[in-house]
């Protein structure tokens, strides 16, 4: 994989930032959330508006640099990487569908500067058993209803799509949003998660824009498969590297773990797999939805297996918070569930690979 000068600069800056600001507090983030001063520094570095255009205060990173940023952050704190993905891919990504709208442009600059944070109601996360119910009042934009599984519900504003016969509208709610349930989720505990109830007045709910076809948030999420894959890649690489380091220092039955063939085979296979996946992810950084989906499905799966392997190599030590392997183990398994639904993604993959007549029974 060849990195451009711009990629290398970004990678260096991201690593230095993560070493300095994140390494020491990664466990603390899981317990108490991301400290505001870290988000302030993230904004200064241009990470919160990484994908936003320069004229809106963003860093306007190219696709590869953005993936490198997420991969790097995920190695230190998957929660922080996910937060970055949310602000960029989901929030800014949705707003940029309506660049003509002044409020949309203004919201993007506020995200980039760290002045405000946003979140979205992800249709892809709607529970299979309890659906979301959101309705728009007649004669105005008043929004009411409930949404399940909202990540970072404490954000300064929330974006939601509302579909009707003509297409889909994107609303920004600045108020009238109340978290009515807290979900204790498996992973990414540094980010809040819960059920949200809306009763936003006309003043609190702003129509950002309308478009035909798929909603802006769904499009942003679908276009963000690679970003999710980059987070998964960071988790897979970090857990594997930590397992390798442990296998070199830990001795059992008089030898280093890495000297035992089953350990060496498992670790070297995992390293080979992450190498290949990394190549694939970056070489397809500018390609379409299909390649993004392939990357997401394969890398999230590899991250789950890598974190499990790392836990096994670490033995009892890996089971405790201190070594942080247990965090990656939880986060890896949660990543896909928080960004979509594997069943529907497998249907999409089948349609991409085999055509729309496939996967129907």
């Amino acid at each position: 994989m060849k990195l451009t000068e711009e990629n290398r600069l970004l990678l260096g800056a991201a690593r230095e930032f993560a070493e300095r600001e994140v390494r020491g507090i990664s466990v603390e983030i899981e317990r108490g959330g991301i400290p505001p001063h870290v988000l302030g520094k993230m904004a200064e570095m241009g990470f919160l508006g990484a994908t936003a255009p320069e004229q809106m205060g963003g860093a306007s990173l190219d696709a590869t640099s953005y993936l490198l940023l997420l991969e790097t952050l995920a190695r230190y704190s998957p929660s922080l990487a996910f937060y970055t993905y949310m602000q960029n891919t989901l929030v800014v990504g949705s707003l940029l569908h309506f660049q003509d709208n002044e409020a949309a442009r203004e919201s993007v600059s506020e995200i980039a500067s760290g002045k405000r944070s946003g979140t979205v109601v992800l249709d892809e996360l709607v529970s299979n058993t309890v659906g979301n119910s959101i309705s728009i009042g007649e004669g105005g934009n008043a929004v009411s209803g409930t949404a399940e599984f909202v990540i970072h519900p404490g954000a300064s504003f929330i974006l939601l799509s509302h579909a009707d016969a003509q297409g889909s509208s994107l609303f920004r709610l600045n108020g009238g949003v109340r978290q009515t349930g807290e979900n204790r989720k498996l992973g990414f505990r540094g980010l809040g998660f819960g059920k949200v109830t809306f009763s936003a007045s006309v003043e609190e709910s702003l129509l950002i824009g309308r478009k035909s076809g798929q909603g802006a948030i769904s499009l942003a999420a679908a276009g963000g498969s690679r970003a999710v894959a980059a987070i998964a890649l960071g988790i897979a690489e970090e857990t594997t590297e930590r397992a390798v380091a442990y296998s070199r220092s830990r001795r059992t039955f008089g030898s280093r773990l890495e000297e035992y063939r089953p350990v060496a085979y498992s670790l070297s296979s995992m390293m080979a797999e992450t190498d290949v996946l990394r190549e694939y992810l970056y070489s397809s950084a500018d390609m379409g939805e299909k390649e993004g989906l392939v990357a997401k499905l394969l890398v999230t799966d590899a991250a789950v297996r890598a974190s499990k392997l790392s836990m096994q190599v670490h033995g009892g030590n890996g089971y405790f918070e201190e070594y942080q392997i247990e965090k990656y183990y939880r986060d890896a398994m949660s990543l896909e569930a928080l960004t979509g639904n594997r069943n529907s993604e497998m249907v999409s993959l089948s349609h991409h690979m085999l055509g729309s007549g496939s996967a129907s029974i």
């Binding site: 009892g316 398994m333 569930a337 928080l338 639904n341 069943n343």
Partner: protein
Amino acid sequence: MIMDFELPEDAAEMRKKARDFALREFTPEVASRYDIEEAYPDDIRRKAFSEGFLDMSNPWGMLVAMEEFCRVDAGLGLSAIVPAFGSEVLMLFGNEEQKRKYLDPVLRGEKISGFAVTDSGAGSDVAGISATLQKNADGSYALNGQKIFITNGAIADHFYLLARSSPAPPDKRHRGLTMVIVESKMHGFSASQLKGKLGMRATNTAELNFSNVRIPAENVIGEEGRAFYYVMTFFNISRIYVAAQALGIAQGAFDRLRAYIESTKGKNDLNRWESTQFLVAEVASRIEAARLLTYRAASYLFKFNPDPVSTSIAKYYAAETATYAVTRILEFMGADGITGDLERFYRDSKIMEIWEGTSEVEKLIIARMLDEKGEGK
């Protein structure tokens, strides 16, 4: 003669009784609270004892109770049955006085025991432990060293503890290990709970430290220097109970999958897809295989004819089945999975592949003992 796949009648009754108890006591709210607080459920331990679940004279009953308890919640389930942890060692190798003094109060539900082998430098490699016993002039011993990841560590009244009492002869590292009974109130003994576990957070896990703890000679279990054998004998018993824990977790995850699929009927009806039906069939088959292996190993043990190969196969396969089942089901349930009970099952299941012998150790035992047995034996 036909093979009989039915459990003894009293075990079948115990299974029903254990299921009722677990559903009544381990409600999702209670399970979640102990998980979050990392607290040991002493009230549940007492209730489980008073209802007769800790009955070492009924091993089949204890085995199915372990399975049914973990099926509802593994952390609470194990906590309810684990107060006598390690007692088999005393039953098999202890003398009458030791049994009277230490075992009987545990079996009466008055005291809690623990089994302390692992230290920070040696887990799978039992003979690599660093705790030491040195003989004093008066015949007693001075115990020094540390242990980690000890179940019941901060709540047990006494431990069956492994330490090195003489240097190992070259290539005979398993010699020179001795097991002693250590009371937690002995001078020089300290325990601190280890927090921040991934799962099984209702169980108590601690680090133990001993500095010149005086161990009276009468607290040596069996013969000095022979304890490696006692530990391995114990693992051949405890591994079957771990297999039952893993089996319970897998079955519990499967129960939740089926309830979930059921709850989508009339909505998006997930069961109409063959991919869903395959998932159900694949997980069900693995669980059934794990159950048969576990019961087979148990049947040998409970007839006083344990077969270490069967035991290790059962433990290894059941543990892998637990993580396999929970992972597959979580993947299927997505956001509904990682926010419900099942997320705790994911965290609880992983330790099954680690404690009482990692999957790697089980595999080595299986291969090496098969090799020793030779072909056709």
